[in-house]
Symmetry: C2
Subunit: 200 residues, 2 copies
């Protein structure tokens, strides 16, 4: 069995969203599975000193345009959210809570949360909204809300973020294959070559 692909992303990252809509099929074409790993760019940016895209002069304006165009290029629907960026603790905690029980279901939830934010413009930073999305997969809202406040779940996310930073993850999407890091949905062309033909 070839190594799985490690897929780091933040729920507030539009390029992470685009990558999320593609990565499972993409990896499967090359016989690879994907480990989904939501992180918190806010914690990462404290280490790197980076700032959210909209706050950057010139680059912020470009990013807004590039995000829409890149989504069209990859054939992924997107609507720039009314509130951007958002804190992404709620959806990230919900993911790990489900993932420790049912990874396949967690992946479906992950995509549904991303689509709620980047297609339906729902503010998934709200525990209520995240719980409502999770409820469509059969979870009880109260169980989800309790999980989002559970110190065990909080620590689970925190240790994932710490491990990611230790590994050098500084952005979203950040994809690691056979130990090789690729940052950005625009590295899918290099990832494709790596998966098809090995290291280059």
């Amino acid at each position: 069995m070839p190594n799985p692909v490690d897929f780091y992303f933040d729920y507030s990252s539009p390029y992470g969203y685009i990558a999320a809509m593609k990565i499972d099929d993409f990896a499967a074409q090359h016989g690879r599975s994907v480990n989904w790993k939501p992180i918190l760019l806010g914690a990462v940016f404290k280490v790197t000193g980076a700032q959210p895209l909209p706050s950057l002069p010139l680059k912020g304006d470009y990013a807004k345009r590039d995000i829409a165009r890149s989504a069209r290029f990859y054939g992924i629907p997107i609507r720039y959210p009314s509130k951007f960026p958002i804190a992404s603790q709620a959806p990230a905690r919900a993911f790990y809570w489900v993932n420790d029980r049912d990874p396949a279901l967690a992946r479906k939830l992950a995509k549904a949360l991303y689509q709620a934010y980047f297609v339906d413009d729902r503010d998934i930073s709200s525990p209520d909204v995240t719980a409502t999305v999770a409820a469509t997969f059969g979870f009880k809202r109260d169980d989800v809300l309790a999980a989002l406040n559970d110190p065990v779940v909080k620590n689970r996310l925190k240790s994932e973020v710490d491990a990611a930073i230790k590994l050098g993850v500084f952005g979203s999407p950040y994809i690691v294959i056979d130990g090789e890091p690729f940052w950005g949905v625009d590295r899918f062309d290099q990832i494709e070559r790596w998966l098809a033909k090995g290291p280059f």
Copy 2:
């Protein structure tokens, strides 16, 4: 005649170098010419607050690896320079000085200067080194050195940089086609579609 492609780059930018080695052929395949426009990222970064890649925690280490891998991916030789980044006034001024007389020759000089830095590890921030490279195209070293100190040439570069910033240019390579901006050599796939089929 379709619009020319505007190609902004900094002589200290490895991704700009990779783009420079490809863009003329790439544009020509779609019947477009290219306006080469060296800029100074140092001046741009004063506006945007950005920092040179090597100084960025985590991202700097990744960039070094990604630059080498991207060069291999695009089939472009590269050697990480001993001194990086460098101030790029000398090669940029030399470019505009030649370009105002002979654009085709300026383009050849542009590529030779980039190769001197990113293949032969020569420090083109030095007027002497830039003049030596220019001399291989028949220019007299003393004429080049005089031009690099000529207030007219200095102002020419300054006004190009100011115009680029006004247009929103914040990185290298930064490519504008039919008014549409594309940042990064990793946008060549989107540029390809734009040139082949028009806006998307």
